[in-house]
């Protein structure tokens, strides 16, 4: 094993970058669940769709067009899903919701296959984010640093909105006790709708960000779904701190697991998940105490 500090710095950056990608995805899922008690398993498909929209838009107008268009397009689809499907399912209990959104995964998967085909798509990076910079004496891809910075920026922005603004207070009240919040005159349904759209937009953004790093394939949404669910279960449902903590734990366990114990790499995170479920079934930072 290498004792070179550059090697470990590199791995730490890798872990951070994976964490931030998962954070973008899990924050939407966890807040939607916390506020609406609605498990949207199709969240991963929205991520895949974001990647496809970004790849398609990038061939026309370059990377940044895709980067900004993907969240908007996916939020648009979120509005359609919400008004056509999810609003009707609000009162129908978790099992029906899980089944409907699980079915949505396959419907959306086949839709992307019909529209974009089975062959993986590519996305070119803009010159600004291409190449490498020297960090602690090692060359690290700029794009990965960009993902880390973007994840931290979104985290800070969401923390500010939730802590300091009126809408943040309303969301927190809704997560804590939605019936009481409604009694106090908060339009909880409208709040749900806004949060759902923002969650969808973040999933689309995560797809657009992941596209140049990974390959854009129809099943990318399925591949990311399990890690995302693990993140929110470890972190605790419904909270921002839970999402960031869960993402960091997943990213570091996955990365350093692969470095230190490659044979155990795929099992470690599940073992940790089991341990969390036994010791703290509500997760590390549940939204409700």
């Amino acid at each position: 094993m290498s004792l070179d500090p550059g090697f470990w710095a590199l791995q730490t950056l890798n872990a951070l970058q994976l964490s931030m990608l998962l954070f973008l995805l899990s924050i939407g899922l966890t807040v939607i669940f916390g506020l609406m008690h609605f498990v949207n398993l199709a969240h991963g498909s929205l991520y895949a769709l974001g990647a496809y929209v970004a790849a398609a838009a990038a061939t026309v107008g370059g990377y940044w067009t895709g980067f900004f268009l993907a969240p908007v397009a996916v939020a648009g689809l979120g509005i359609l899903l919400y008004s056509g499907l999810i609003r009707r399912m609000r009162k129908s209990g978790p099992m029906a919701q899980v089944l409907v959104t699980f079915g949505l995964i396959f419907a959306l998967l086949d839709l992307t296959r019909i529209v974009w085909g089975d062959i993986a798509l590519a996305i070119e990076l803009p010159a600004l984010l291409d190449g490498r910079v020297s960090v602690f004496g090692i060359g690290y891809p700029v794009y990965r640093l960009f993902i880390i910075a973007l994840g931290l920026a979104i985290f800070t922005a969401l923390a500010m909105v939730l802590k300091r603004t009126q809408i943040g207070a309303m969301i927190r009240a809704g997560v804590d006790n939605d019936a009481m919040a409604a009694c106090l005159g908060i339009n909880v349904e409208r709040l749900f709708f806004i949060v759902f759209c923002v969650g969808c937009a973040l999933a689309g953004l995560a797809g657009a960000v992941a596209a140049p790093l990974l390959s854009v394939t129809p099943d990318m949404g399925l591949q990311i779904l399990i890690p995302t669910l693990i993140v929110i279960v470890i972190g605790g449902l419904g909270s921002l701190q839970g999402a960031i903590a869960g993402s960091l734990i997943f990213g570091f366990v996955q990365t350093f697991g692969a470095v230190l114990a490659p044979q155990l790499a795929s099992v470690l995170i599940y073992a940790l998940l089991a341990a969390v479920l036994v010791i703290r079934p509500m997760g590390l930072f549940p939204a409700k105490g």
Partner: protein, 390 residues
Amino acid sequence: MKTTILAALGLATVLSMPASAEEVKVGLLLPFSGVYAALGNDIEAGFELALEEYGSETEATFSLMREDTEVKPPVALAKAKKLILQDKVDVMAGIVSSGVLGAVRDLIDGAGVPLIVANAGNDEATGAHCSPFITRMSFSNGQVNRPMGTWLFDQGITKVFTLAPDYAAGRQMIDGFTETFTAAGGEIVGQEFTPFQKTQDFGPFLAKAKASGAEAVYVFYAGGEAISFVKQYDSFGLKADLPLFGSGFLTSPLYVNAEGPAAEGVITALHYVPTIDNPENAAFVSAFLQKTGRIPSEYAVQGFDAARALIEATKTGASDRDSLANALRQVHFDGPRGTLSIDPATNNIVQPIYVYETVPGEFGLSQKVLAELPASADPLNGCAMAPVSN
């Protein structure tokens, strides 16, 4: 009046049917959905093309029945049963995934229906689990990689780090390379198998490869993993100091354009690339391009040659299950890949392997053939079966 016309028409129909033609029912077992759908479509297109181009050489006619394996062994097994028992096919072709091949192997061997494998490369299928009814026109995992070990050592590279997904094919590909590379005198300084289809970020493994002191990296990845891997390898800037070699699926023409400039300079070995210089290949590439609008991949040529093997077998007069199986084991012809033959000891194909470099070309990326490594038959690997009967 009306009845006369109808009678005449009926008579004309009967007369227009060739008297001695044998109808061969072919069951195509391919993934048309799931992760390997793109491969299934390419194999199907190649198969149809060969029937169009070479079908007139034989007296037999072919009717195709397509079934979707969905890359799921239980589904594929049910579909294979349907083809054998209900549709009563004379011969089957296809199978992309080795897992699917393993699932249907006993059924096919027991029912005595010949199967022409058009992709699945697991070594056992023509080794310990070989069957006189299973003939492979694609490749075996070891076959593609074995010649690369010696070749790479001859290029002056003595220390290599290997990477592959952690499943049977990944291990067989790397074992094939390691075997000849170490026999030639090379040293494997590090070896990692990444969780199959669970690894999206290769960063941690790339950092290990860089720190290992290797002179080159040899890998096997395919499909989405190959695209992610090649792009990430380039993004870390490893290509300059640590050249990337591998099994040719890494930079398959099917998806190399999704890898983009990151794939330039990667040197890999495969049984087919569209730029092989021979007249059969030139004709094949232009016919395939005309039919589908795409450059053919190795999967397309496997489908094409699977159908050609079937045509060659029927030319010997074979038309039922037993005679077709026997004839398929003795097939040999010159195709886009060069001179091909089936080794009757294992029923695996014997074919040359091409070392190629991915280079920028006229339409996206292209393949520059660096060397043609001579064909050699696979070792028996525990295969024991009845010899062909004449």
